[in-house]
Symmetry: C2
Subunit: 323 residues, 2 copies
């Protein structure tokens, strides 16, 4: 059997309450000598408080629920890791739920996390659908991590996607290769697309062709093949995620195009793998650690201000843009 507080009390010759006072350093004072006896008993017996019992009694699990679409996407993995780090620093464990990206699975996971009594919920999701509110718990603070836009009624936090895309595209345009193509996932007209368009407008250059594909390596490969396989292929392309950019590099290779000589590429996200692609990717980096820190603070520190928090993206220049 595992050792309980009662065992410690018996061994130390004190009441169970005193054991709690020592373990929690309060709320009642304990004589130094008594405390020493208790600590020795704890040491000898190897006592660890039962977190489940504490959670039930305190009404707090010291657990944060974190929902991500798909852990096999390095970006989500990076978010998971960052949230875990920050949470650990504050004495919280993270209950992570990967959902395959479906809204229904996501809702189900939110429900089970809530039933687990998590103290807070972080949703790193692309799906900020309105029916999400139905799965919200009154007592459980929640934040959407990594949304690009304001979500009515829900606190959210994300990178400046418009600015990031504009910067990335502008950098490409500055190389003077003319119109910049776009490989992008998600719904038409989202912020990265707007940023890409704005950069063209700023430069007085026509917007390049668009190819849409899933947010995956495969999606990037397909969209890239379409974009680059046609007659009027652009000399440069902005890609809405690193994962897709990896697919675009593959598409370029299959078509015999050299990057950056025949095709300049800038991607979005800034995950580690971009440092090791061939060539290394110039990318617009999301400040993942800062975002995770902000998200955890948002959800753990009550009344942390505004509903929507935007963090800046940063251009990381490497080889794929032809600099």
């Amino acid at each position: 059997m595992t050792v309980t507080r009662a065992d410690v009390a018996r061994y130390a010759g004190v009441s169970p309450a005193v054991v709690s006072y020592v373990v929690n350093d309060g709320p009642r004072p304990v004589a130094a000598a008594t405390a020493a006896k208790v600590r020795e008993a704890i040491e000898v017996l190897g006592y660890r408080p039962n977190t489940t019992a504490q959670a039930l009694r305190r009404g707090s699990s010291r657990l944060i629920g974190h929902v991500v679409p798909d852990l096999s996407n390095p970006l989500w993995a990076q978010f998971a890791l960052a949230v875990d780090d920050v949470a650990a620093q504050r004495g919280y464990d993270v209950l992570l739920a990967s959902t395959d990206g479906g809204a229904e699975a996501e809702h189900r996971r939110i429900d089970t996390l809530a039933a687990r009594g998590v103290d807070a919920l972080i949703l790193t999701s692309v799906l900020a659908r309105p029916d999400l509110v139905d799965h919200t718990r009154p007592g459980v603070p929640l934040v959407l991590l990594n949304t690009f836009f304001e979500v009515p009624g829900l606190p959210s936090l994300g990178v400046d996607a418009f600015g990031g895309a504009r910067t990335g595209t502008a950098h490409l345009l500055a190389h003077g290769h003319g119109p910049v193509g776009l490989v992008i996932g998600g719904e038409a007209g989202e912020l990265r697309e707007q940023g890409w368009r704005a950069a063209a407008r700023d430069a007085g250059v026509a917007a390049g062709p668009i190819a849409r594909g899933e947010f995956s390596r495969h999606g990037g490969l397909e969209a890239g093949s379409r974009l680059l396989g046609g007659p009027d292929r652009p000399r440069s392309v902005f890609v809405s995620s690193d994962l897709q950019a990896v697919g675009v590099l593959r598409a370029a290779a299959e078509l015999g195009l050299r990057v950056p000589q025949d095709l300049a590429v800038v991607s979005f996200d800034g995950t580690v793998e971009t440092e090791f692609t061939n060539p290394q990717l110039t990318t617009v980096r999301q400040p993942v650690a800062a975002m995770a820190r902000a998200a955890v603070a948002r959800v753990l520190d009550p009344g942390t201000g505004e509903e929507r928090q935007v963090l800046p993206a940063e251009l990381v220049v490497r080889a794929s843009c032809g600099c």
Copy 2:
């Protein structure tokens, strides 16, 4: 406030016990009419049993603790995902702990997971050090997932690293480029190294040069640069992980070596990203899903036989070997 069993009982006009009988479908029978009333009350009030209270009472959390070295390594992320999937199918949630790869952090995480009352522990780790046993919990079944060798006193499960490395190296040797180099992490003399050596012996060819480096893209880059930068560089190389192989590809690119023309490469692990490297990597794939399934079964189904279970690796032929 969240709704409790007592609320449901009051609403349905029955005793709290009956609510439990309905929710758990036992252990006492309930009249159909009564059950219907209870179910309606549950529906109307939106009742969900408090998992924490259930855990405390049952002495079982329906939680599996899973320790991985580093979630930013796609292989570990894939294991995390696979374990999560299998566990979910069996009604378990997974408490995931990423450890930065250090033994001390790993032990600490094991302790906190145990304090959380996990029903079982899966350690996906490279560190099967003897002092691990000290952090084992008597009542908590445990399995080491992804160890290559037998660990005395601890049930473990892993791929046939020796066979996999031998197969991968043999495939390279069959191309007739002479001695095959090795880029490898971990301790000298481990099973992949032995397999690589055995393949050379089988073929009657001398073993090629070895370069050691961390199990990371960076480690592969450094080791690869050393191996390929010297005067007597091998024409082909076996790499002990995909991550390192990505680094080796980068090293080759920096040295102006074409893969596979100047250098043939085979790696180990078979994560998704190998399909999108440039060129696509020929790799020895670990059966991650099957391993996760076996690990969960090992730890949830009591008395599932042997202490050590080995699963076969499979060669996936793509472009980097020059086929």
